[in-house]
Point group: C2
Chain length 222, copies 2
DNA sequence: AAAAATCTGTTGCAATTGCAACACAGGAGG
DNA sequence: CCTCCTGTGTTGCAATTGCAACAGATTTTT
């Protein structure tokens, strides 16, 4: 991927991009599926952008129970938000799901002003603002899902959000396996399975593979 | 409160502040306790900063169940994240808890460049970045709490975070009533009460009024 | 192609949680 | 002082959820 296609450098021409990448000391690395991309015990100032591939942000609590905090695709950004959190309390990691190329930049390099590329700096900051806004929206969506009191409500809330974001004409699709979905929803897998089956039997939900459809018209009783 | 005390205008001197406030078409309004400050059905571009007072971000789901999404104090910022979201799906509102002064700015006014105050604009954008970063951390903390599988774990996780943020020497304090806390944790109030009582009896937790203390040394059995 | 590993789907049982109802405490306001 | 309203604390019972175990399907590795 060329630098100027990168969301962080959007709107900046290629020559400036190259200059800024070296100015930022940006670092591009490749990871294989399953490899750990980032561990929040390391550097809180580090910021990553996925150039290609997919990854997940996972958390292991004291009992070793895994929660998927977020799924990350191409152009996803991570690391910005944990600048001040006490991450030692919980083990948060970014793990590659497929082969990934990741660009690392230090947040402080972006925020500071330098003589060489001032006009570009502020553009990058604006882009970053935009990205953080989008990221925060997805955090809010997550909270909306987790706020639901029952598994049924969590599931329907989650599927509604996916459905809403799916372009017209395309079939909405769950970006997880059922097992991973249960981690995302923070519920027991077999209990989730039970709910899915129940909703299918009630005609509220249709699933084939990962494609699904929600029927909202019938009043969802029983 | 003077403009230059405002977090959004931090590092900008007063004359520039005044100029920018009119340049931004910033709007300062007063709300009484209980009044609705913002309704996400209205303007997605609008951004608010609480100048004084406290407020809460609440959500009413389809069944009318209230969840506190966040509590907002002086200098809290809201409205930044929902720029593109379909918030019409769920009824999100900002409601004053006490009398509040709130400054409203349009997000697009901040991001755009103007000839009159360019150097200040980028400073404001940086400040905004900082604010969003902090806000996103609190969203992540909320997710961390809601990710916990049981009420006990949710409660302890929540209290740990509060404890960690409390300055040394001060007694950690819950910023909610128990009833509001149950909304924040998205659990049933009486079930939460039951857990609190149980933890107190087991010597894990001490609470007087809203001040509390967690004992972590004993292994939390029973 | 066989073996290993992971995911799906199901179920009985135990534990947790929600619900509803009630008693009591404290604060606001007439 | 009394009343109204909101929050606290408790409990029995019902509903939901977690847990464990298992069988079969699917994918990955050898």
């Amino acid at each position: 991927m060329l630098p100027e296609d990168n969301i962080l450098f959007k709107g900046i021409d290629q020559s400036d991009c190259q200059r800024m990448i070296s100015c930022f000391n940006a670092d591009i690395k490749t990871f294989r599926s399953g490899q750990k991309i980032m561990d929040y015990s390391d550097n809180p100032d580090k910021l990553g952008v996925i150039l290609c591939g997919t990854a997940v942000m996972v958390r292991y609590d004291i009992n070793g129970v895994r929660s998927i905090m977020e799924s990350l695709n191409e152009q996803s950004i991570f690391g910005v938000y944990f600048t001040f959190t006490a991450s030692q309390r919980s083990g948060i990691e970014i793990v590659a799901e497929t082969e990934c190329n990741v660009m690392f930049v230090r947040r402080s390099e972006i925020t500071k002003r330098c003589e060489k590329a001032c006009q570009c700096h502020s553009k990058v900051v604006e882009n970053l603002l935009q990205l953080m806004s989008e990221k925060a929206i997805s955090l809010n969506e997550r909270i909306e899902v987790l706020s639901q009191r029952t598994i049924e409500e969590k599931l329907i809330s989650c599927l509604s959000i996916i459905e809403e974001k799916t372009p017209n004409g395309k079939a909405p699709q769950i970006p997880f396996s059922t097992t991973a979905l249960s981690d995302y929803l923070c519920v027991n897998r077999s209990a989730l399975q039970r709910e899915i089956t129940r909703l299918k039997n009630n005609g509220v939900l249709t699933i084939s593979k990962r494609k699904f459809k929600l029927m909202r018209n019938r009043d969802s009783d029983n």
